[in-house]
């Protein structure tokens, strides 16, 4: 991903973010995309980004890794 840093509205959910990244990377809607927080778990699709940020931020940024395979599962 060229642009690594984004500022996103907190009310968006993980499901929204997955759709956004798929569109940005031209990944087929029906393909798998896994998101990971702190390289340790995949958040529920219903998690809002603000909840994730509140709970798992490191130096004010929420760091999310993405993969088409279940890399940290």
């Amino acid at each position: 991903m060229k642009q690594k840093n984004w500022a996103v509205e907190g009310y968006h959910t993980v499901a929204w973010l997955v759709a956004f990244i798929k569109k940005y990377l031209n990944i087929d809607v029906d393909s798998s995309l896994f998101l990971f927080v702190n390289q340790s778990f995949s958040p529920s699709p219903d998690h809002t980004l603000s909840s994730l940020h509140q709970c798992f931020t490191t130096s004010d940024k929420l760091v999310i890794h993405y993969s088409t395979t279940n890399a940290w599962g």
Partner: protein
């Protein structure tokens, strides 16, 4: 701190469900058009549907693709990855039983996760990992084997309390790792859940109680207009959250709290 009886009763809690097959979509269904089942509150619908689907396949002439089947109550889509008890507490405000659930086969909602056992296993274990990330910075779950992780899920799927707790006790009671934050989610029907960092103790070392935890997530809440429910129980607001974490959590290691407008 360990209330075995409570944990056992929570595990064994069941909800009588009537699966009502939508006659507009299952046009050839013969009588009876319903299938009754007692479902564990702590389980998930995709893990409990095989008998209902078998009943369906016997009683209809048309070919049903199981992948098209989804569940609805009162116009609400029942999410596959939410525990059955949480969904009941969320959507059945008047507490009617049996819970009459509408079984659909058309217009499968896009937002539903895939109800396969593998997907349920993945989602369940990720929730357990997230809970341990909050409790122990993930140190306990990552010290467990993949086999132990699978035992957590399989024991829920097979309804085996002792198998579950033989592994889960390490996530609940770890002597070397004090609990940093209590995994807890607050639900209001129609909104995404809220989750914030809740320490088990206050600054003066007194145990954090449910009321303070709710206030942290919803600072402007007016308690007089809400009922606070978890596991089908009206939980007193002065209940210690660490006690709730150990005794009222769902198998995914989260306390799921329903805030219902009275």
């Amino acid at each position: 701190m360990d209330d075995y009886e409570i944990r056992r009763n929570i595990w064994e809690g069941k909800i009588p469900v009537e699966f009502d097959f939508d006659t507009r979509e299952f046009t050839s269904i013969r009588s009876p058009q319903s299938y009754f089942a007692m479902l564990p509150r702590i389980s998930y619908f995709p893990l409990c549907l095989s008998k209902a689907l078998k009943f369906l396949s016997i009683n209809v002439d048309e070919d049903i693709d199981v992948k098209d089947v989804w569940l609805e109550y009162n116009g609400q889509i029942l999410k596959w990855h939410y525990p059955i008890g949480l969904l009941y507490d969320m959507y059945v405000a008047d507490g009617t039983l049996p819970w009459v659930i509408n079984v659909r086969s058309q217009n499968y909602p896009n937002e539903l996760v895939h109800p396969s056992k593998d997907t349920m296993r993945h989602i369940f274990l990720q929730a357990v990992k997230e809970a341990d990330q909050l409790k122990h910075k993930g140190q306990v779950i990552s010290s467990m084997t993949k086999d132990e992780h699978n035992r957590l899920f399989d024991s829920v799927a097979n309804n085996k309390f002792d198998d579950f707790w033989s592994v889960n006790k390490r996530l609940m009671y770890d002597e070397t790792n004090k609990i940093s934050y209590v995994p807890i989610r607050f639900y209001e029907p129609g909104s995404p859940f809220k989750q914030v960092l809740i320490s088990p103790s206050n600054e003066d070392d007194s145990p954090c109680i449910l009321e303070s935890a709710i206030r942290k997530a919803l600072p402007t809440i007016d308690f007089s207009s809400y009922t606070v429910i978890s596991q089908g129980i009206n939980v007193p607001l002065n209940t210690s959250v660490i006690w709730m974490a150990r005794n009222l959590s769902y198998p995914d290691n989260f306390i799921h709290i329903l805030l219902r407008k009275s």
